[in-house]
Amino acid sequence: MTDTPTEMRSVVVEREIAYPTEKIWRALTQPHLIEEWLMKNDFKPAVDHRFNFSADWGSVECQVLEVEPNRTLSYTWGAHGLESVVTWTLTPTSEGTHLRMEQSGFQPGQRLAYGGAKAGWPRFFANLEQVLARIE
């Protein structure tokens, strides 16, 4: 969550992991390994590659935005009519790796369920940030 009115609400999860970045990178980028902890997928670590995560409840439409081996991985995450961006950041530490996941920029997907909603969502979230903070 953020106090900056121009920014969107986002979800951040961070964790210290006792393994080197190279090993975590493999788990984040090899399809058979991704499936073990996230979902079935046809991921490739190539910018612009379109792929899907699929599970029994449906699927998530994605596109790779950024690949910097052992450092950064980012892809769009389109589900439930909202599109967001998931960014993984790996930072080596003396104990292993600091792993950070940020999902941000929730906005309506162009080809997804709730057609007609254009760029209004980010502004909506921004405008209602204070309202939302009040009822939290």
Binding site: V11, E36, A55, L99, G116, A117, L128, L132
Partner: protein, 113 residues
């Protein structure tokens, strides 16, 4: 795998209701400016009064606005509590990723160097 990533019916309904830009604008205005009559809302909505009334009806059905009759006028106000599913959703996404991290750590333990 024990993950859950699913929108509740309440969240789904809320997103669908607010997906329409005209409806979202009406709701936003009521949030920021407080109670308004249909006439006052129509004056700046850029659509006709019947269209505004139709959208207000949908917002009311979703619990996002409440109406109050006074003489011949109907006043509408925003119900902020109805936005709670939106906050729940962000919280659930955080939860979803926390449990993904757990499974990722389990996998790392099993993986070869």
């Amino acid at each position: 795998m024990g993950y859950e990533y699913r929108m509740s019916d309440a969240q789904d309904a809320l997103f669908k209701t607010l997906a329409d830009p005209t409806r979202r604008a009406l709701f936003e205005r009521l949030c920021r400016e407080g109670e308004k009559t249909v006439g006052a809302l129509t004056a700046r909505a850029g659509v006709s009064q019947p269209v505004v009334s139709k959208h207000l009806g949908i917002l009311k059905q979703a619990g996002l606005v409440r109406d109050r009759h006074e003489g011949r006028q109907t006043h509408y106000s925003a119900q902020l509590g109805a936005l709670a599913p939106l906050i729940d959703w962000t919280r659930e996404m955080a939860h979803f990723w926390q449990s993904r991290f757990d499974d990722l750590e389990d996998l790392l333990k099993r993986m070869d160097q």
